[in-house]
Symmetry: C2
Subunit: 297 residues, 2 copies
Amino acid sequence: MSVHIGVDLGGTNVRVASVLENGEVEEMMQEATDAEQGSAYTIDKIIRMIEAVADGRKIEGIGIGAPGPLDPHRGIILDPPNLPGWDEVPIVDQIAKHFKVETKLNNDANAAALAEAKFGSGKGYDSVFYITVSTGVGGGLVIDGKVFNGAQGYAGEIGNMILNPHGYQYSNLNKGALESYSSGTAMAERFHEHFGQYGGAEDVFSLVSQGDEKAQRIVDEAVDYLAMGIANVTHVINPAVFVLGGGVMNAGDLIWVPLQDRLEDYLYPGLVPHINLKQAALSGEAGVIGAALLPGQ
Amino acid sequence: MSVHIGVDLGGTNVRVASVLENGEVEEMMQEATDAEQGSAYTIDKIIRMIEAVADGRKIEGIGIGAPGPLDPHRGIILDPPNLPGWDEVPIVDQIAKHFKVETKLNNDANAAALAEAKFGSGKGYDSVFYITVSTGVGGGLVIDGKVFNGAQGYAGEIGNMILNPHGYQYSNLNKGALESYSSGTAMAERFHEHFGQYGGAEDVFSLVSQGDEKAQRIVDEAVDYLAMGIANVTHVINPAVFVLGGGVMNAGDLIWVPLQDRLEDYLYPGLVPHINLKQAALSGEAGVIGAALLPGQ
């Protein structure tokens, strides 16, 4: 029996899995990324993990999901903030040279988008826009079962979408970008401003469920901007479905009900009956499953 | 010899042309739309114009570009503000019944996008985002030579993209939508506010070329928001080229130089060297040429 290998390379951990044709994870290994040891060290580790998971079986293909920016066409990791010290790392060449099989690289959000489109909540739709609302806000577009990378690989980078030219600014993002309002990091920052404590989105939601009005305003703002972001994507490409994942989207009705509600206000009336927001189905495994789907894309 | 027919149905005029395989307009007729006489009247007129242009030759296919909203899948014009009184008009059925050839409907911006992608400034690129900056702001996306309509036909409707939740509001658009800042209508409104006179974008540009600072601020604002809109589209789908048409884009360096400049500020640094903005090449004929390309899409 042969195996399809998916590698989910994150800033903290790297996971390698063998994924079956039906999208099920057969076997998965996880280790610390140790990015600061340099790319050669981590890539050696990935190669050993792939060998362990494959366990002597023929490898059909290897896909790698990694933090951006990266170049999916050339298979090179550029200089991601989440992999400090990595600079123009030709990871595809290095891994393909060892295993001599088709090896593909794409960013983690695109890999997750592909997994959701093929085996998760986007299954059966010809255009799927995946959004992850977590530490940051990222996205990925899948059209007719294929990742739409865009000319330079920046399709889906909606965290940087400008929604308020007079708004907050974080790191290297545009002033008033979606991520500066709707990410878990943004909510944690507002939490600190308003409550003088350090915490995360989950603390804000916890206060909201106790009826706290200041916390509610933090959620309202995050949801409002997320709705604007979704409306803007709709008025650019009008995908058949939006699949939303990431920790912030696990807050249940506290986020999904107002999101649906606000979104209706921002769409042309003809679109309102067709709003199609779904929660991601594959959660933590989307990364390796999607990565395993990259070869042959 | 057989002919491909393109119909450009506007609020004021309707134009019918025979278009050659190389994209050249062979013959074109224009008449008043007389939309207020009702759709049956106008459609009869279109049928007579098609017969006149075809002049007994075999018709290969008929394409119609019309103002939105419309349903390209069902071939129905919904209730466009520019065709008052028209409501759920099955124009494709009515015209196809008469000529018994493949007949397709799409919105005017998508038709123009297709023409520019195939024969104009977007030729040779696998993803083309066309933007018209005129009375309104509209757009169309062409991927691999095909119009990308989106699930409900709203792809490319970037005039409604929210860029400032505290901004201007026009008609049925979102508050702070792109069109409320960068359209010719928006510039004319600012002109009236600041100068107490009625005029158009061309009057604003004329004052700018004379060194008027108030007029310059009007242009700066329009350009700034247009740059944000283009940046947002880039961070959603990263098309290989943007093709910009419409009257406002005829202002030469007064608009193109600051636009390029502002856009650089709003893109991830990795994208800046790849900015690819081009002026539309087919101008007034893009509508009929693109319409003629719709059958077979």
